[in-house]
Symmetry: C2
Subunit: 77 residues, 2 copies
Amino acid sequence: MSKSIFYHAGCPVCVSAEQDIVNLIGSSEVDIIHLGEDRSQIEAAEKAGVQSVPALLTPNGNVLHINYGASMADVKG
Amino acid sequence: MSKSIFYHAGCPVCVSAEQDIVNLIGSSEVDIIHLGEDRSQIEAAEKAGVQSVPALLTPNGNVLHINYGASMADVKG
């Protein structure tokens, strides 16, 4: 895995953080996944250690929880 | 302000996040400030909106609180 993955769920906190992360890292270096729209990715996100959104999964497998938009329980509804 | 500032306080969570951020953004794009060692910077960090460490102040003035190491109250002791 060479790209980071930014997980979000469309919340205002998520959108703001997404813009910052894309500006900092570069859009070519990060895949954006909207867990509210792509619910099949929720399980993979949880397995990777994502506990809340927005979160950035780094290429080395660390999860950076950035600010706080919603818990994964909220995302799963 | 063209560089980001990464504020931390030497905690294990901080050090791990620092390595990830430097890897993602590049060490030339981020100044690292250890608030435990450089206490004169605490006030500026709080004014910028830093509520806990580790935190990244972006060039456009947004604060990204990354994971959670310690509150600013803890940092001030």
